[in-house]
């Protein structure tokens, strides 16, 4: 149980302000100044650089199973990825991934 009210509000306020400053960093300070070409080239890859790394451990070692690889979650991840690549449709990928997540346990 979390019962330290002072800690809770310290975390909420500092995390809130810190997150806002991260989001405002470039938008706020650089403003209308143009970014150099090499920076733009790097930043083009931000989503594919961060999100796969964020997801990989969650797929392979889900906390919900105590870190043990789970066939249903693995199948759901692979189906979502394949559906997303083939259809280019985010919603279809989510639906098919969820279907794989719920149907895989029935197969075993």
């Amino acid at each position: 149980m979390i019962d330290d009210t002072l800690q809770i509000w310290t975390v909420i306020i500092v995390l809130g302000l810190g997150t806002f400053l991260l989001r405002f960093s470039f938008l706020g300070m650089i403003g209308s100044r143009a970014m150099p070409g090499w920076a733009l080239r790097l930043l083009r890859y931000t989503p594919v650089a961060v999100m796969p790394g964020l997801v990989a451990p969650l797929v392979l070692w889900p906390a919900a199973t105590g870190g043990e690889t789970d066939p249903a979650r693995l199948a759901a991840a692979l189906v979502t990825l394949a559906a997303g690549v083939l259809t280019r449709n985010v919603l279809a990928a989510i639906f098919l991934g969820a279907a794989a997540l719920y149907l895989t346990p029935l197969l075993f």
Binding site: I12, L15, T19, G31, A34, R44, L54, L91
Partner: protein
Amino acid sequence: MTPSRSAYLRGCLASAPFALVIVPFGLLFGVVGAEAGLNIVEVMGFSIMVIAGAAQFTALQMMADDAPTVIVLATALAVNLRMAMYSAALTPHLGKAPTGMRALIAYFLVDQTFAVSSMQYDRDPGMPLAQKVAFFFGAVTPICPLWYVATYAGAVLGTAIPPEFALDFAVPITFLAMIAPLLRTPAHIAAAFVSIAVTLALAFLPYNTGLLIAAVAAMITGAQVEIWTERRLAR
């Protein structure tokens, strides 16, 4: 219809599919927060002031594990470092907006609004500023208000969602569905591969630092492969 109004509506439409994952994700945060001992004001404090699901879950988990406040903050902020990259990536498109507007955009800069907007600006870089801003707030509309409402509902219900629903997996599925359509060039595929490989190899590092190193390596990989591809095409 004015061009800005139509851009706003296109933004709404583009991010609407994510409502389907924001709702379970927000509900889950409300439920987990309530079960961890937070009251409704505290749970809502997280979702309104931080408005970043992954970091909120991280902070909650670490407080439940009795981690010191400084470590809780450092870890949760590390999870959110990607927001600075989002900020930088949108600056060429939205940097000329008035300061107050940019502050509001920054507050609403979450994974989904970023993904949808940056894809749109990539596709149509020549869009006028007013339409780019309108598109962004269109993308915010189906996402952020639902985040507050879903969190509130989860905290009020407080009832445990049965673990069979595997709601924890809403996050990975959403992210994967967002990434997959981006894997359209060798550079994007190489960057994604490096991101995964380096994160897994550095999983032993504390506080998500492995992910940060992996992200930097992956961005450099993507940029380098892009340069090689261009050279080969130029020949």
